[in-house]
């Protein structure tokens, strides 16, 4: 393997080049081209009409009072609301499920497989299912709520219910993923630690608080970061369940996250330059967030 120290050996490049070519065209080049496009008034259907506008696409997003400003920052607010209201459930429920399954009881692997199952479905499938469950007419949920004499709100078209439907669908869909990671980390904790805890008279709750949680911390931090980023990318569920509705008086929708806004701006409307500028801002925020967390996390280690 130590050949080619003196003379040039092309063979290794034959191994990496096929992938590298695609990487350069679809990761390396767009890294810069996205920024470049954001300085233009660009519509892919009419490339001849492209005009250089400098920072205009960005200025539009920071000029209070304009529709674009309102729509964009509203979608950022909606994204934040979704992150804040979904992430706690996406951490605590999987943590609870993993704890429940982290026993030697027979049959737990069957439950593990069932709890994880929704994750293999596509966003379109789960959105369609929950959209139907939450329907006011014929919907499963309101049928049972009505039968129990409880209020039956118009889930998909009024607030805060529309946001709740998206959170519920998302939690049901993805909780199994974090559960599996928690479970794998829990199973790495040596059993004699629990044995020692038991000998010292710690009950199940105390063992969880004083043994499981501290040892789970690195994984916990990692999962919180990845879950926040995943929630930031919300798109398909509101697209198919609420269409971003209910509409807001100044434009934009109460369940229209920033990814849906970028989709509308660049692919429903013909403003790809503006959509590229929005993407740059969102990407910067996400990168800053990851970096800060990474630093904090590393510092504490």
């Amino acid at each position: 393997m130590v050949t080619g120290k003196r003379k040039f050996n092309g063979v290794p490049y034959l191994f990496i080049l096929p992938h590298l070519i695609f990487f350069i065209v679809f990761v390396g080049y767009p890294f810069f081209n996205g920024l470049y496009i954001s300085f233009f008034n660009y519509d892919y259907l009419r490339p001849q009409a492209t005009t250089f506008v400098g920072l205009q696409n960005y200025l539009d997003l920071f000029r209070p009072g304009s529709v674009k400003y309102y729509e964009f920052w509203n979608s950022m607010r909606v994204t934040l609301v979704f992150v804040v209201s979904s992430v706690p459930f996406l951490i605590l429920i999987p943590l609870g499920l993993a704890t429940l399954l982290n026993t030697k009881l027979p049959g737990t692997h069957v439950f593990r497989a069932i709890y994880f199952a929704p994750w293999v479905l596509s966003c379109a499938v789960i959105s369609l299912i929950w959209w139907w469950i939450f329907q006011s007419q014929g919907g499963l949920l309101n049928y049972y709520l009505g039968a129990l004499g409880l209020p039956t709100p118009r889930w998909l078209s009024t607030m805060p219910y529309a946001m709740i439907t998206i959170v519920v669908a998302t939690v049901w869909w993805t909780m199994g993923y974090n559960m599996i990671i928690f479970l794998a980390a829990m199973q790495d904790i040596p059993a004699d630690l629990y044995e020692a805890g038991r000998v010292d008279g710690a009950n199940a709750w105390q063992r969880f608080i004083y043994i499981t949680l501290p040892l789970l911390r690195p994984v916990l931090v990692l999962i919180i970061i990845t879950t926040i980023i995943a929630s930031f990318n919300l798109l398909g569920q509101p697209m198919m369940m609420t269409r971003g509705d209910p509409r807001l008086p100044n434009g934009g929708g109460a369940t229209e996250p920033v990814m849906l806004r970028i989709f509308i701006e660049g692919f429903v409307r013909p403003y790809q330059g503006s959509a590229a500028a929005m993407s740059v801002i969102v990407a910067l925020i996400m990168m800053a967030f990851s970096l800060v967390n990474f630093r904090l996390f590393r510092h504490q280690e």
């Binding site: 679809f26 496009i37 069932i114 994880f116 299912i129 499963l140 990671i181 994984v219 990407a283």
Partner: protein
């Protein structure tokens, strides 16, 4: 010594009873959660076999009064929502993407794991760094590239950009690093060249890793929604996921039809999962932990 034995036996029985009660409670809880997970899927299935007239009745029937296949025959034969064609398209796109990725990523993974060339460390570091970049920044520029290359509304538009992904390269590299070097060294002493070593010694060992990667990549490609929605717009080239959105728009309040569509899209994945459950779950456990 008989009298003190009594209370011990008594407390032992109580301890056992508590254990049994605790276990029953645990199983009851696990079953309840399993029901919450399964009920929406059963509701999808149940709705897909119902006539429209049964959807909005006063009573809800989990098992339809009249079990009908009408929804399935209807969506399978409606030319404006060609779901069989979409199914075929999805199979083509997901299969080609998976196969191409396995080839590219195992080659590159081996290159970065074992072969020596100038700038290997830096290049791989660069590749890894891009894993942390948010996908949103590639959306518009990659769409523009695909449009310029004339790949809009062609399967290549969905397949080719996906091949740039770094995850599989990283995954295969980690695997190649984990196998002992001695086998390759022995083959090299026997006079095998790099390609022979890779194809005849290393790849046969990599079957489990390749299978895991294949499952992950196939699932990812099959379930891809946003990119397929952007680049495969014509109904003739659409795949199933954006197809479901077309279906949703095409039939107002025909939930039976839509759920039949959802069943057709979900079933292959659920079957795959049922058979390869171990692979899927363990791949998430290992790749998820490493980030």
């Amino acid at each position: 010594m008989t009298p003190p034995a009594m209370p011990i036996r008594h407390s032992e029985a109580r301890y056992r009873l508590r254990r049994i009660v605790g276990r029953v409670a645990l199983y009851a809880l696990m079953i309840c959660i399993a029901l919450i997970v399964i009920i929406p899927l059963l509701w999808m299935l149940s709705t897909s076999f119902k006539l429209k007239s049964q959807l909005f009745s006063r009573e809800i029937y989990w098992i339809p009064k009249v079990i009908t296949l009408e929804n399935y025959t209807k969506i399978l034969n409606n030319p404006s929502t060609p779901i069989t064609l979409w199914f075929r398209n999805s199979v083509i796109v997901a299969t080609l993407t998976t196969v191409a990725k396995l080839v590219l990523d195992s080659l590159a993974g081996y290159g970065y794991a074992r072969l020596e060339f100038a700038g290997r460390k830096q290049l791989f570091g660069l590749l890894l760094a891009t894993l942390f970049l948010p996908g949103v920044m590639f959306l518009v520029p990659n769409f523009v590239t695909v449009a310029r290359l004339g790949m809009l509304n062609k399967f290549s538009g969905a397949i080719v950009p996906a091949l740039a992904s770094v995850f599989g390269v990283y995954f295969m590299r980690q695997f190649f690093l984990s196998i002992p070097k001695e086998l390759e060294e022995a083959a090299a002493i026997d006079g095998a060249n790099t390609f022979q070593i890779f194809f005849q010694v290393v790849l046969p060992l990599a079957k489990p890793a390749l299978a895991t990667l294949a499952v992950i990549e196939f699932l990812g490609s099959w379930n891809d929604f946003l990119w397929a929605l952007l680049v495969l717009k014509d109904r003739a080239v659409q795949t199933l996921q954006p197809g479901l959105r077309t279906l949703q728009g095409a039939y107002t309040s025909e939930y039976g039809l839509m759920m039949a569509g959802a069943v057709i899209v979900a079933l292959p994945v659920l079957l795959l999962y049922a058979f390869l459950q171990r692979y899927v779950v363990e791949s998430v456990a290992t790749t998820g932990l490493k980030g």
